[in-house]
């Protein structure tokens, strides 16, 4: 059964799926950061987050108040497009379909793993009926 989008179950599956992508772990081996996701037009849905340390996801769950290096948010409609792979990471950022708070330089420097990370989000069977 598909996980509800932006649920704790969904973000934990994202964390687990990350393990199956050695390329992103290699690309981010010098990277340490936390980031949060939320749905712009669904303020009732709690935010979720990932914590990556040296390329490994070591926390995937509800946003728990720790410092976030990045925050990413989009409308439900745009999240669907991003997860479907209809928009690349770069064009999502440049067109602001994916809103972004944090170091833009870091995002640009790590654009390849950033795109892989969006692909990982899209690999999780998801139920948008939330």
């Amino acid at each position: 059964m598909a996980a509800k989008f932006m649920s704790t179950e969904w973000i934990r599956l994202v964390g687990k799926q990350w393990d199956t992508h050695p390329e992103i772990q290699k690309d981010l081996r010098n990277f340490n950061g936390t980031w949060e996701y939320y749905i712009e037009d669904r303020p009732d849905i709690p935010h979720v987050m990932l914590f990556c340390k040296a390329g490994k996801v070591i926390y995937a769950g509800p946003s728990d108040g720790r410092r976030r290096d990045f925050i990413m948010w989009a409308s439900m409609e745009n999240w669907k497009k991003i997860l479907a792979g209809e928009i690349t990471g770069k064009s999502a950022l440049m067109s602001r379909k994916l809103k972004f708070k944090g170091s833009m330089m870091t995002a640009m420097k790590y654009m390849t793993p950033f795109n892989i990370h969006l692909n990982i989000l899209g690999e999780i069977p998801v139920d948008f009926d939330i």
């Binding site: 934990r12 010098n30 950061g33 070591i58 728990d64 290096d69 602001r96 170091s103 833009m104």
Partner: protein, 280 residues
């Protein structure tokens, strides 16, 4: 009379074409322009920031400053073309790839306040070249950076892709490309001052329609473009955020950049959670 200038990289390589461009724009826009080419980046920036220029074709970090400090409006950018960077050594030198680079690496770069420099640093970061190994010579123009490399005064150069692609075959064959960017996010743009704001739509239309007339196509060929496209507000916001961050010097959160700070696991809740477990 309105002042018009272009990024020194462009006027330096194709001055007659830009004088013709100035004439073309005056005819199309029915206004009087005074074209004043600049010798280097610093002079070009000063000319705009001191208020003597109302129309400028600028590199991304410069036009972000003009927008922020002088209220300039980005209007049009090269069509399907972005600013990219090549990291080059001299052919025949021992520096053929990242692994072969010397302990101290001497690099020519036009200016540290350019996107070319920033992206060049990214190329080295991606190859895990510690920035502490780098020594820079800032040459004031992209062409001068290339010249420094060819004359053997540096080990490497950050070469703007347009300089590389417009260089002679002999020059290109004298270079060893170690890495090149393919980011496609930054672009030069025509920008107007608030004094010319009433011509924004007309300028955008004129530039974006150049390829539709014989005279326009010929001029585009002269100055080395295939056409122009409108700049949108989202692109401006994105590049502004990027340039401001770079200029502020706050490049965050990669381990090497923060390596002087010990990263202690206890500072974080290290809780790898699997589906089905309770969240900590």
């Amino acid at each position: 009379m309105y002042g018009f200038t272009v990024d020194p990289n462009y006027s330096g390589k194709n001055l007659p074409g830009w004088f013709l461009m100035s004439t073309y724009l005056q005819r199309q826009l029915h206004c009087s322009l005074h074209f004043s080419p600049q010798d280097d980046f610093a002079r070009g920036r000063n000319a705009v920031l001191q208020g003597g220029i109302d129309l400028v074709y600028a590199n991304p970090f410069d036009w972000v400053q003009y927008v922020e400090k002088k209220g300039f409006i980005p209007v049009a950018k090269p069509k399907e073309h972005f600013d990219e960077v090549l990291l080059c050594s001299r052919k025949g030198s021992p520096w053929v790839d990242f692994a072969s680079l010397p302990e101290r690496i001497h690099i020519a770069s036009a200016s540290d306040a350019t996107l070319v420099h920033m992206v060049g640093l990214f190329l080295l970061d991606k190859a895990e070249i510690d920035r502490a190994r780098l020594d820079f010579t800032f040459t004031g123009s992209y062409q001068a950076a290339l010249k420094s490399l060819l004359q053997g005064r540096v080990d490497l150069a950050f070469v703007f892709d347009e300089v590389y692609s417009s260089a002679s075959r002999i020059t290109q064959e004298s270079l060893q490309v170690i890495a090149q960017s393919d980011d496609a996010f930054a672009f030069h743009a025509f920008c107007i001052s608030p004094r010319l704001a009433q011509l924004q739509d007309a300028l955008c239309t004129t530039l974006c329609n150049m390829e539709q007339s014989e005279a326009g196509r010929r001029l585009l060929q002269d100055i080395g473009f295939s056409g122009f496209a409108p700049v949108n507000a989202d692109e401006v916001a994105c590049l502004t955020a990027l340039a401001e961050e770079y200029i502020s010097g706050h490049e965050a959160i990669d381990l090497r950049a923060t390596s002087t700070l010990a990263i202690d696991d206890s500072a974080f809740l290290v809780a790898r959670e699997e589906p089905g477990e309770e969240t900590k």
